[in-house]
Symmetry: C2
């Protein structure tokens, strides 16, 4: 393969690649918004049409219906199965990506319209730019650029692109299991570009992910919202019950209070600890990226040391070994990385059904739903976590002795995943990175969840690799999500070079 010719072509077509990402971002394929379902379908077909132009065969597979919390049923978007090449002499790579995005709205604090791609200072802002529309397009562009420069695609590729990843990948697991000996048959390796570099400058390859279990706590106190002036003082309010319940989940240091979870966490071995030693990561940079006007001094005690009269916005970072409930030294690289990658964490996301707007409304909400999730790690499973959490919440509710109705349940659960970072497939990925960036990648894990990673490993029985395109500060799930133009363009080169390396793996 003439990599230099390929690289040159990619560089020369930057404007074209940006304009295609612009088109993709403008499609509001938010899987959490039931009313946006047609947009996801549109996005899936948009990618399918482009794959067809590249010579792939494309199928849109119906994966059934989704039941909304209201009980309403809604058709799931189709999963795209694409096949490019069927040469038995070539290696076959299965590529996964997702075409749906997180919710976004200007009023959430975006500086620009989230569903328009805005180029500024070498960055492309827009919902889905990095999660995961940009990386998906990199695959398409890599194939296109190889073809345009007259080069043979050195591998067969099976594309699996779905539209429900941000809402639990509903329907996908069943489809993949059913396609094990059909569409997925013959797969040699699986590659997923749906995560991020650990930092902003150095590429990495990722061998582990936390899972996520998402919970709802519903409390109802009346058949309709009530005026707090007219009824306040005579109603056992659902909101006060919910605040009580939400406050039982983590302590002031963020330690998870749910009984029986800590015991499920795999012990840390010296071998695993050693893996963290050489990773290029500066906890202080990380802290600064999250917060503004941060005034924690190096050497301050955690949770203390706040100067009298010191105002301005703070960012507090906990550097805790959550598994052992012990405080650790602030700024420790390995401990911070482990807190992100190999310890569970619990986040409180919000409340549905209460007053959530600006201004003041004197309402007693009739029914409120608290939302939180737990990031899970080996050896926790969604089943074991669900059991502990629901039991724990029911126990707390009993203590509360409220006459209201409470229901705590797991909305969805995704498993965690860890594999061997020294597999030949990972070495191929490392060589591809070196050919584009000139450096060896860091071997990392991620705190986020891509539950299908594990499904692909189990269904194909083959090695799965996560090969990120975006940088750590891309703001996936945040306001002002972006991808750097250089990451986007180098990503195309990396994936083309990686196809070449995969074709050479002898196993």
């Amino acid at each position: 393969m003439d990599l230099l010719k390929f690289f040159k072509y990619v560089d020369e077509h930057q404007t074209h690649y940006v304009s295609l990402l612009r088109e993709a971002v403008e499609i509001k394929s938010v899987s959490a918004w039931p009313e946006a379902r047609p947009e996801i379908v549109k996005m899936v077909h948009w990618v399918g049409d482009r794959l067809k132009k590249l010579g792939a065969t494309v199928e849109y597979r119906d994966v059934g219906e989704q039941e909304l919390p209201s009980g309403q049923k809604l058709a799931l978007p189709p999963v795209l199965l694409g096949q490019l090449g069927t040469d038995p002499a070539k290696r076959t790579l299965c590529v996964y990506g997702h075409l749906d995005v997180q919710p976004a709205a200007r009023e959430d604090g975006w500086a620009t319209e989230p569903f328009q791609l805005i180029e500024k200072d070498g960055q492309l802002f827009g919902r889905g730019a990095t999660d995961d529309k940009g990386p998906v397009l990199c695959w398409l562009h890599a194939v296109e650029a190889l073809q345009a420069t007259g080069q043979d695609i050195p591998i067969n590729i099976k594309f699996v692109f779905e539209g429900m990843e941000e809402s639990g990948s509903e329907g996908l697991d069943d489809l993949l299991a059913a396609e094990k000996d059909k569409f997925l048959a013959g797969t040699d390796f699986v590659c997923i570009s749906d995560n991020y570099w650990l930092g902003k400058k150095k590429p990495c390859i990722t061998y582990g992910l936390r899972g996520v279990c998402y919970f709802f706590i519903e409390v109802q106190c009346a058949k309709q919202d009530l005026h707090s002036g007219i009824f306040g003082g005579t109603v056992h309010e659902a909101m006060s019950d919910l605040m009580y319940m939400m406050n039982t989940l983590v302590d002031a240091e963020g330690r998870i209070l749910v009984d029986g979870l800590k015991e499920q966490v795999a012990p840390l071995t010296p071998e695993e600890r050693a893996l963290y030693k050489d990773i290029d990561f500066d906890p202080e940079d990380y802290r600064k990226d999250i917060g503004t006007n941060c005034c924690i001094q190096k050497g301050d005690k955690v949770g203390g040391g706040r100067g009298t009269g010191a105002r301005g916005h703070w960012v507090g970072l906990r550097y805790l070994d959550i598994g052992s409930n012990r405080c650790i030294q602030k700024g420790d690289k390995a401990e911070t990385l482990m807190a992100r990658w190999r310890h569970p964490s619990l986040s409180l996301h919000g409340v549905h059904g209460a007053f959530s707007e600006d201004g003041a409304k004197t309402v007693i909400p009739m029914k409120v739903t608290g939302k939180f999730s737990i990031r899970i790690v080996p050896n926790m499973t969604p089943e074991s976590v669900e059991k502990c959490v629901v039991e724990y919440l029911n126990k707390q509710w009993k203590k509360r002795a409220s006459p209201n109705e409470m229901k705590a349940f797991m909305f969805h659960g995704g498993r965690c995943w860890v594999t061997d970072p020294h597999h030949p497939h990972y070495q191929a990925g490392a060589r591809a990175i070196k050919s584009v960036f000139g450096v060896e990648p860091d071997l990392t894990r991620e705190g986020g969840s891509i539950p299908v990673t594990l499904t692909f490993q189990e269904v194909t029985g083959k090695n799965v690799m996560l090969l990120p395109v975006g940088a750590c500060d891309d703001g996936a799930h945040s306001q002002n999500e972006k991808i750097n133009i250089t990451n986007y363009i180098q990503g195309i080169k990396m994936l083309g070079s990686y196809m070449n390396e995969v074709s050479k793996i002898s196993e």
Copy 2:
């Protein structure tokens, strides 16, 4: 005055009166929505135009700007000052009403479009139907019907209609104080129709109101929203701090935990207790109106007695003497009314800035604002309550020892009000009610807040009376707000008859 002729005319013009209310409801004059400000202005002018047609002089008074929580400034809607008649031989009545409404959206659970008036089973559904557009229109219709039946308006009327009542009546107090010796000079009595009957069938006159102090608790942990997978475990989350803070405000029984508030509540005298004895109020009906599928049995202990395996939605009502922190017998009429009218209560309204939609979003919100309010009673003042609450929350925050930034403050505060229910003005009101409904009204207080009531009393030095038009189940501030057609039509008659009675007061 020929009351029968007037009543007959009103009955014959029901369709016309409903169509005018329809027009008013369609104007989305929500004072909590900054973007709806032009709708409030439109609503104020809509009423002004109608007053002019009735022969009133109308002024629109600029009352300055509002500072939003974001720091943005927004012009307040004008206050309408209208004058009908200046005959020095007549009594002069000052009438207050408000033209803004609470927020409303179909997705909050409305069965119909909130800003369309829908007639069903003798009820008129729509935001503002009862709070307070319907009652304001009753005043206009009463004048119109008296004129149409060839009768002299027996009093002079000064109309004060504002557009910010649901957001703290900003700007109004200053205007009223400034107009004390100008527009308001010569006022003999003040009447406000902005509250509700105690029940569904029997009219009442109201001599007391609770005040309200609305508080915000802001907590910030980062400069932007964060992905809980990538950052969870290393950030001291604002949401968990806020849940802790919100959970320190009331106990499981709804008792206010803020130090120093209970001591401010005026003691209950035997005379006051006696006032509750003959009021027509059934706590069991009240409970049923709030909840569905309620399975509390009479005689059950509060907070207990829940049958094993009993499911379905519960409504728990606390019948507590909050002032003395003692449990009382369930179903006690006087104690239930006192919990609504003469004891303080604290309601948690919601959280701004967190994920509040349907579905799942794995976000760590950067900044969250908890909202709650306290209904205050004699001898509490907004100043005394603000001091206790802010001190208490700052104390709780110190205990929390969080590195995040927290700010607790009072967003607005309105005083409570109580007057003498045996004043000649109240006797005139009672006679007007008897002329329309054939019964003596109950003398009631209200749990809700109409802070300007006290301002009118102080500025004019005259007796203020609350003369409600709507029924207890109208759902002000709720989904499916409505006014019964009979209440609306009888309200017109009542106010016309009341004008007649006011003209006869010799004091």
